[in-house]
Symmetry: C2
Subunit: 375 residues, 2 copies
């Protein structure tokens, strides 16, 4: 194990520039409850892009440095500087999760137990070669699970499971999911099939419809279709879904979902109410694929909610026991229910090539990047 | 007591017309748990206008009939007919609350106990002369309270109290209120002063600022002011308010409130988070003074909610004991904390004059109509 290693960092300077670079940083000795993980695989998630790009205008991005040590620079519009003032001048390590082999361990029993094991890890900046992490943030993968298979063990799997738990604890019985062909959407589809929960998948493209139907999805509606409202309403009537999860945010999809839920809920009402039906309808926004404003056209009565949905807050609400049970399920089913699919595998240096940056920055449902820091 | 009496009704016909008229209907004999109330005063609330006007285009309103029995007709745009299909062909009685004298009572002890008393009543169509109501929907007013004083004992007082209870049960410690110079806003201001709760009042006009300050309000901000955001944020920092109630809905006020709450919550953060602060921020929309779309500009992180707030649903959540305690407080403080102020008193026939209709339909904060069915 070397003394130092490369870390992909994002830095905003006083002069309104963002810089992405590989910085050589020290590998610390693990504390009693810590382990050092040789990171072998880490996915690029939308939340990583938010850390990487922050408030910068990435259309101004240019690349300097060399092939092995590329540097990306971009301008931060002056009016955006206030929103990132707490990170100005700081090198932020990038990478929310990943997996690899434990190559050093602290003195505690829990840390020692992980020595030599393949683990998944959450937090800390995983776009690096060696990460020192608390054992609490590690998930031991089953023997035979590779780091590539386990790289996405936290963000997507726990988010999908948290959606199902939220549905249960808030008294709903079926789920609507937007951008449903994503890795997360495919996981949610498999969980719902396994757990016998009706899931209404909303996608935008015919090939995404086909993909999900081939994976056993019963309800798939295409928001680009002329008959979207009718088809969505029909699926809502059949499933009784009154809770939705939407990673898009901007635009009027959340509003349209509530409108169709209300149409489904009020279809049998014999008395008109100016307040709409008393069926409670909920949309959780868990991403910002469209950063534009959310527009709510109020034709869905008064029994509704639109709320932000952030994994860490939700796990806090669901409690430690539930979270531990979720983690165990993820480890047991990481190559089946929670399997992720990547279209590109890149080295740390390749993450900072303008061409690949342009591709993963699009956050296209069909493309997913995996970083291999040892490559 | 006569056999029949006049009821203000709203009827939508198959031919896309809305008709408002006074209809002669029978006064039923009260059942065991019912009383007949001679309605002496009933307020025109925004919720009554929603029942009266429904989906009609009131710019097409015209008046026929005669002085004592006027009729208002208006066109319902074809595309709106679907939203009111459950009420087509039905005469809907108008009037959500009111007060008067019990002139007949059923055989039960509870009903008999109200004989001759002045009571407030909720539901049933109070824009009439004699209303038969279940005792559960009646609130006995204290001796000496007039029907005019008690006319608004339910909708506004219980909504204001439900806001305070919701603040408490959801773990907030101060309140933001929009359109705060309304009758309801004035009640909320008095409740918060009495209960020692910080209240941030948002108004649109200087005279409303003055009105509330003269009533002891400490925090009043004017959304028409150039320094609105700075003033609102300052008030949020001082009070720590993280829950807001907004009867307007349409537009971007809810979004602006969340943005200022986030600015207040994140002002001392030393670490930047792409998810924003973890302070949960809530806006409840309890009206539709602006029926346009709600626009949410997402610059307030992930810990937020915007939800519909409907009194009857909220009371259901708060429970029977809380509701009973609220009603008792209203009866005891109806001429002080829960006093309403009316700018116009009108007869049933006057409600259906185009001129007064044009005035109360505006739902101006400074104007409030009281119907006197016996006039």
């Amino acid at each position: 194990m070397p003394d130092t290693n490369l870390q992909l960092t994002s830095t905003i300077s006083e002069d309104n520039t963002l810089q992405l670079a590989l910085k050589n940083i020290e590998i610390p000795q693990p504390g009693a409850d810590e382990v050092v993980i040789r990171i072998e695989a880490a996915p690029i998630n939308p939340s990583d892009l938010a850390v990487m790009f922050a408030a910068a205008d990435m259309t101004t991005a240019r690349q300097t440095g060399n092939e092995h040590n590329p540097v990306i620079s971009a301008k931060v519009p002056a009016q955006n500087m206030l929103s990132v003032k707490a990170r100005v001048g700081k090198s932020i390590p990038v990478g929310n999760e990943g997996a690899g082999t434990v190559v050093a361990a602290g003195s505690s029993v829990d840390a020692q137990a992980l020595m030599g094991k393949t683990v998944a890890v959450i937090g800390g900046g995983t776009f690096r070669q060696y990460l020192c992490a608390n054992v609490e943030n590690c998930l031991e993968l089953q023997s035979g699970t590779s780091a590539i298979e386990g790289a996405s063990s936290f963000v997507n799997p726990l988010t999908a499971l948290a959606m199902v738990e939220t549905m249960r604890t808030e008294g709903h019985s079926a789920i609507v999911h937007a951008a449903a062909a994503s890795n997360l959407g495919q996981m949610l589809n498999r969980i719902c099939i396994a757990d016998g929960i009706d899931l209404v998948n909303i996608v935008r493209k015919p090939e995404q419809e086909t993909l999900l139907r081939n994976m056993g999805a019963k309800y798939v509606v295409n928001s680009s279709s002329d008959s979207f409202y009718a088809e969505l309403t029909a699926a809502l009537i059949e499933t009784g879904a009154t809770i939705a999860f939407d990673p898009i945010g901007g635009g009027k999809l959340a509003s349209d979902i509530l409108t169709c839920m209300e149409a489904a809920a009020s279809r049998n009402l014999t008395e008109h109410s100016v307040y709409g039906s008393d069926t409670y309808k909920q949309v959780y926004i868990y991403g910002a694929l469209d950063r534009g404003p959310i527009t709510l056209n109020r034709n869905f009565g008064f029994a509704w909610g639109v709320n932000g949905f952030l994994l860490f807050n939700v796990l806090g609400k669901l409690g430690t026991e539930t979270t531990i049970a979720m983690r165990k399920r993820v480890a047991a089913e990481i190559t089946t229910t929670f399997a992720s699919h990547y279209t590109h595998q890149v080295s740390l240096a390749q993450v900072l090539q303008l061409e690949s940056l342009g591709a993963y920055a699009k956050q296209a449902t069909s493309e997913k990047y995996l970083v291999l820091p040892q490559a």
